[in-house]
């Protein structure tokens, strides 16, 4: 399990793709939106919480196919399935590795990008907090989606399609949390829901993902 985690982190670093690139994607989405929407600070500040959450979600989404696809292509998954660690551990570990290389850096970078979108000051605290608590759910749900599509050639877009509806509750509560934080409204409800989704995903989805992989290896 540690071996697997370490290897995944090493691979992410080696490929030059792990940390840097999904961060870069987040940065770029945040930059593109003003180009599309126009430069007025007021509008930007109003949509900033939503755009930042959507951006983080997309950055997460794009790196999902890395979770299992490479290991499937080169046969590692076949070999792991016959190895002495349970597939449930494998899926949970890989989701964790994904979070460490994606969700965590995104959370840390989000406040900086908030500046670019003129996010009002009280938003920064809630943005960081909601991302820190919400991105683990994104990684775990994503790992489940990746497990479902692992056998398919270029399942990338299919994966997005499957996973995005599952992401919607996380997005709604996460962005709402920030929006209410900005406006000074009570944030308890969306916040608790967000935490609930994360805990629930972590408790259940490793098993579903492992089952999906077993089916896909046939």
């Amino acid at each position: 399990m540690t071996a697997l985690l370490l290897r995944d982190l090493t691979l992410a670093l080696r490929a030059g793709g792990g940390f840097g690139l999904s961060l870069a994607f987040f940065l770029i989405v945040t930059i593109l939106v003003p180009f599309g929407v126009g430069p007025e600070g007021g509008t930007l500040g109003r949509i900033a919480p939503g755009i930042l959450w959507v951006g983080a979600l997309l950055a997460c989404l794009l790196s999902l196919d890395r979770i299992f696809a490479l290991d499937h292509e080169d046969g590692t998954l076949d070999l792991l399935a016959t190895a002495p660690i349970p597939l449930e551990t494998v899926t949970a570990t890989k989701a964790l590795a994904h979070w460490l290389t994606t969700g965590l850096p995104l959370t840390l970078a989000a406040p900086v990008l908030g500046v670019l979108l003129n996010l009002p000051v009280p938003g920064f605290f809630w943005l960081t907090l909601s991302l820190a608590l919400g991105t683990p759910a994104l990684s775990m749900i994503g790992a489940f989606g990746a497990a479902l599509t692992v056998g398919l050639k270029r399942g990338g877009l299919l994966l997005s399609l499957l996973v995005l509806p599952l992401y919607i509750p996380t997005l709604i509560f996460g962005a709402d949390c920030v929006r209410r934080g900005v406006e000074g409204l009570p944030t308890a409800t969306p916040f608790l829901m967000l935490v609930g989704i994360t805990l629930g995903s972590i408790a259940i989805l490793p098993f579903a993902a492992a089952a999906a992989i077993r089916v896909n290896l046939r």
């Binding site: 071996a3 080169d74 076949d78 399935a81 016959t82 002495p84 046939r218």
Partner: protein, 207 residues
Amino acid sequence: MELTVTDLSIARGGLPVLTGVSLRLGPGRALVLRGPNGIGKTTLLRTIAGLQPPLSGSIGLPPEDIAYAGHADGIKPTLSVTENLRFWARIFGTGDIAPALGAMDLVALAERPAQSLSAGQKRRLGLARLLVTGRRFWLLDEPTVSLDVASVALFAGAVRAHLAQGGAALMATHIDLGIAEAEVLDLTAFRAASAAPAPGGFDEAFA
């Protein structure tokens, strides 16, 4: 502890490929699967490894005693030879990778990233992985593809050493492995007959 396969039928893409396959493989034995392309060797090995369910029949052996090596090697191109091997050693909870490196003549290549290996060198690394699994039953699908004569001999030596320690090997191959003591099982006899479907017999369509 033996590997016993009794009256096994297997399918690929929903179609029966082989029927009535029975075999047993005790410690210290090697069995070579032969048969023309497409007969179902790969499918049979994957079924025995527990990667896909059989149509019918039974396989006697807990999957925790099997090491499978298929057409793909599970090698990460950006990791070095040592890192690749050490990863598998840790996954299988075994310790030292030095003997495996030595046995497959990889010592000189140990620090090279796997992507810079030639086809045959990569294959040798794939085979070295078997040695660090510590498993007794090896299921090998065309293990000597791309290997030169010297490497095939190296491989044969590794298999013999494994057998001598009470291991066993089931190998699908088209070429001569130079392991004289291996028995041979030709799968041609077990090819599934494709019977004409009975009219209205929807059951078998879902077999």
